[in-house]
Symmetry: C2
């Protein structure tokens, strides 16, 4: 049997502690499967005294991740601290510069510095593996990077944030408001005390930027993602969606178009009889559409200590099964220098169906006027209706719901501006894009 | 850039021709992604004159696969002929004995000789890759063999035969008989002229035997699979299933139980609100349940020249990215010598719910008598009912449908024997097992 693979773990939170436990408990089985033992030789974490259910005797303890990455006698540096900045960035860079393989679950780091790190990895013959960074236990990185080699991909999309999906599912199932569901998610540990990063869509955007690079062979362009979170979704939207045969999901979508690559994260109406529509709670789902393989959908746990640790372990095992200097696996599918420039397709040119919900004062001719503005902007309507649950004789503002056929984002924005100018709107219009996944 | 990877293809049917075309058309992109060119150096097929849309100039032509595998100057032997016997068996063996990597889509070969071939591959430092052998474009082999390293798997199940799923879907959607749908499947090329291998469940069993080995680290035991095809499924069963909130699918299931590993292929009732129930037509789906990762579901194309070629290409690319002698990837997850013996759990001890449809002569007390036989065999009933679409006063035999709570197969068989002895049954009873997949 080959020499043991020596690993160092920076970060012993939920995922790190879970990984360390699994590596210790399944030491023999892993050695059989990988053809060599995997041994934890060094760790770095803040609090040495904390009981993590892991035996840390005979493991070198480092006060900081950068010195672990720079000095420890290891073959693989496992970064589980998170964050785009230091110490994650410096320590990963330090490890790669020594030719030490890196396994990380850090989507923020990759979204910000992925290509630079891939270049350093390639230069020094090190691998940069990051299965756990996107959609937790779903092996989408490996599938895009390895299984789909040679495919031309047209669209990748998915539910990649468990917090948002939990909130949207709960709003629909229990008829509760966004705020109530967010509080419940925080109580259950599904949402952070500061939930902005999840509910504003940034977390999904980081993950999407990585999938985009892998799928289209382009440089990462996280800052070019059109971003809309779910904070604006009301129970009225959820009900209207249900009435129309849709469910609302926060999707990340990357799509090849004639003008470039469209990357967008926004609440999306998906037909209720598609699989994506049925993915509930903290579960994640990713679909890939390509020309040779066809359409592939994967559903699984998007987060959680064990599921994430499983993905990290798969990455470590891949390194254990390879031999030093033996593999050509560029981090983003192609050598960093061969990645194509990212050409952004502007959101204005996005084409798709739209759900538009307007609150209007009850005045004769409003309905006709709205329809006229739509027609003038070449927007073909699938339906326009007054929301059925309102009494016709009430003096309250009326809700009007429009569903469009495929049209351009620019046209919808223009029509909304014109309608706003008419003075009969109450509050802001709600606009939700419609996406049509394969139904399977 | 490293030297080109030289491949030889045996079998230029739909998949082989598709693979050859893709390798030629995407030569540059593949070279960039893999860090070296992939070049077809030799082919073997029956008819040299046939136009396959592939440029075969400058490619060595072999009349038979064994001489290609034995003599050609290649790094990888791609076997796309099919069949458990020769020439597939001899040629794959000959290649591996020369230390030449093998990529195959041949589930029958692996089900019959997989472990022997894995041993030869390991002895000679060759890789044996077979992503295309199970569920076509769904990368379940890679996920089980690589991504899930370290997981203890409890159940693997799925829809792995497109022909059967097409027939069952069409029977339900169009209310046609099994025979009519089979004919349509043959007309569309979804079923062979001799469809027995698909509709009797053998094809699914071959695939399941491979997944079982990978999932549980055991030797392949294809002959130990409990097997029931779909030829016995009538439109009445489909309608009764729909009334009860189920759909009927041909599932392959491998499951860890207290008494061993249960492997079974049979028509199965699955609750209609699960994703598996919604997988229609020739699409495949595979679900894996494990202790660390949790539950993972993959849905995608199960067959077709391009989808299968994509899986073959992924296997070739993995070899291209590795370097000679550089990897430890035992074909079935563990070194062949370290595979555990397969301990069969007998079908008699299977535990689950059952759907039972009986035709009985219309006689007072039959209902009570059936219920008594069930009770005497400790079978707890979820429901027992006369099929609602019959008139109570008709002299025709009545249909009685029972749905049981979880019980043992042995009890159900005993109860059926007792009921048969009563003399009021018309024809054979229909028994369909119920499976409860995660709903996602």
């Amino acid at each position: 049997m080959a020499d043991a693979l020596k690993i160092g773990i920076a970060g012993l939170g939920t995922v790190g502690a879970s990984l360390a436990r699994i590596l210790q408990q399944r030491h023999e089985t892993l050695a059989t499967t990988c053809g060599r033992a995997i041994e934890i030789r060094a760790v770095a974490a803040r609090n040495r005294a904390k009981d993590r259910g892991v035996d840390l005797a005979n493991i070198a303890w480092f006060e900081d991740a950068v010195s672990l990455a720079s000095d420890a006698d290891i073959d693989v540096f496992v970064e589980l601290m998170g964050g785009a900045g230091d110490p994650a960035y410096s320590s990963v860079k330090a490890a790669l510069q020594r030719g030490i393989h890196v396994v990380t679950a850090n989507k923020a780091l990759l979204a910000a510095h992925g290509i630079e790190l891939a270049e350093i990895a390639e230069k020094h013959g090190a691998l940069l593996n990051y299965e756990a960074a996107v959609a937790g236990g779903i092996p989408v990185i490996k599938v895009l990077r390895e299984s789909m080699t040679g495919n031309t991909i047209s669209r990748v999309y998915g539910i990649m944030n468990g917090t948002c999906n939990y909130i949207l599912t709960k709003m629909e199932k229990e008829g509760l408001s966004f705020e109530e569901c967010l509080k419940e998610a925080q109580r259950l540990g599904y949402a952070e005390a500061d939930p902005a990063f999840d509910i504003e869509g940034n977390d999904t955007a980081h993950k999407l930027s990585i999938l985009t690079s892998l799928a289209f062979g382009t440089a990462i362009a996280a800052e070019d993602i059109y971003l809309e979170g779910i904070t604006n979704i009301s129970i009225e939207d959820i009900h209207a969606a249900a009435d129309l045969g849709y469910r609302i999901k926060l999707l990340g979508v990357a799509q090849r178009t004639e003008s470039g690559i469209e990357q967008r994260v926004h609440p999306t109406m998906v037909p209720h009889d598609t699989v994506i529509a049925q993915v509930d709670g903290v579960t994640n789902a990713v679909a890939i559409e390509s020309d040779i393989l066809g359409e592939l959908l994967m559903v699984g746990p998007g987060a959680g200590g064990d599921a994430t640790a499983s993905a990290v372990l798969g990455d470590i095992a891949d390194i254990a099964k390879s031999r030093p200097g033996a593999q050509h696996v560029p981090a983003f599918g192609r050598p960093a220098k061969a990645l194509l420039p990212y050409k952004r397709a502007r959101m204005q040119s996005h084409e798709g169906g739209y759900f538009i919900r307007l609150k209007v004062v009850d005045r004769t001719g409003v309905f006709a006027n709205i329809a006229r503005h739509m027609a003038e902007n070449d927007i073909s309507l699938e339906s326009i209706m007054q929301h059925s649950k309102q009494y016709a004789d009430s003096a309250e503002p009326k809700t009007i719901i429009l569903v469009t056929h495929a049209t351009h984002e620019a046209s919808v924005r223009k029509a909304i501006v014109s309608i706003k100018g008419e003075g009969y709107l109450v509050g802001e219009p709600q606009v939700i894009r419609i996406e049509r996944p394969k139904a399977w």
